[in-house]
Symmetry: C2
Subunit: 281 residues, 2 copies
Amino acid sequence: MKIIKNPLILSKCSKNLKLKGKSIGFVPTMGALHEGHLSLIRKAREENDVVVVSIFVNPAQFGPKEDLRKYPRPLKADLSLCKSAGVDYVFSPGVNDMFGESFSTYIDVKTLSGVFCGKSRPGHFRGVATIVAKLFNIIRPDTAYFGQKDAQQAIIIKRMAGDLNFPVKIKVMPIVRQEDGLALSSRNVYLKSRERKSALVLHKSLKLAELLIGNGAVNVSVIIDRMRRLILKDKAARIDYIAIVDPKNLEPLKKISGRCLIILAVWIGKTRLIDNGMADA
Amino acid sequence: MKIIKNPLILSKCSKNLKLKGKSIGFVPTMGALHEGHLSLIRKAREENDVVVVSIFVNPAQFGPKEDLRKYPRPLKADLSLCKSAGVDYVFSPGVNDMFGESFSTYIDVKTLSGVFCGKSRPGHFRGVATIVAKLFNIIRPDTAYFGQKDAQQAIIIKRMAGDLNFPVKIKVMPIVRQEDGLALSSRNVYLKSRERKSALVLHKSLKLAELLIGNGAVNVSVIIDRMRRLILKDKAARIDYIAIVDPKNLEPLKKISGRCLIILAVWIGKTRLIDNGMADA
């Protein structure tokens, strides 16, 4: 496994790999790897000649009051997980390698980026779209793998890749959960033990919605109200948003007919968690 | 010479060419080709295995009151010029091929895009940066060729390509002029015969500035004032902007020391023309 910090060196490597006709699978991460990331890496390993994982805590996707500084960076453990999973290249640039002094180019995916997580985190998806485009250009993957946990991100990246004609196939892999239902997230380490229990309300409220929809409920405001009441029983929980939307374009639904995406963000103490689920009317 | 309208088909062609190790030279145009474009195409022909020219009047870079509809589209003549110049592929997509109904991704090069031509034409450089990124992803050129006539555009494209790590070398080729000094532009066809004479004030004022700087003038406001007076002697001319800037980052200069870029935009009747020149203190 090669560890590369310099974008130009990795760019040369991938140019050579493409010349040799090798397929490249790419998993972008901010490190603090867990089973969710590993499920993406394993899929990439299965489907490609060469696997590249990036580990970069991207400052452009954090707001000024967010957790950029305290975001976990267990690089040594991450590298060892990558090695065990058969990764060929880890790209772990420094901030200056990615954002030089005169950096001034940003990518916006309008309409999809200002809602939900984008409303609570202004500029977040601009930072995400910009770094992913940079990584695509450096690594030139055939396929890039993203987690369904970040549902809005996955939709935005798909739209960006399509709109800008990136020659990259985007694959979105299912959420990986702990046994009790908590979706894996690098931010779960922030949770104190009592909060860890409260955090289950996200998954519980999704299960409730799926049950209601399975039983024929179609009125979105009724379903969201039931979810809201369930979540607010827990005093540690503060709802950022709950929505039921069209999975293709994030348009909020009023009545459910066909496949829908249920998305939510909830503060548990000082930790903001997100989760989502699909349901069919 | 192959003429391709469908981005996916061209994308497959370029993927195959890259696999074979062929170098691709790319000249993006809006058609209405003149000697300026041809100088880029010849350079691309000289330096690459394969030459791709795009002909696409990009609606995203025109303002609502600009000349999108009347912009000249002599496709047949353009194709014949391309063929004579040894072009391998002409990419001439329709608007719907490039901007589908749900299109919503835009690239902004901050700080460079809101000044000079960007101030007079809000959104223009966003449209330019976005279409160029799309074309780079479809064509995957090794080198792309731009004209120095659009000096601000060239600086913005270089910055975008660097910031987003596009694996594309940007080459900027000198302005091509008619014998009397008028810079070639597809918009020169708009000029009535009397306006055609008035249009010479752009080049004359640049020559004046170069002369003054060559003779030791360093005070920018004095030089610009001399240019302004020369231009306004012609009643058909209305100045949009005149500036003397750092050629690397478009920062306006007060005193000239070293290399500078003199840029201007002038309305001649209903036609807005741009021109520029370099000078050394």
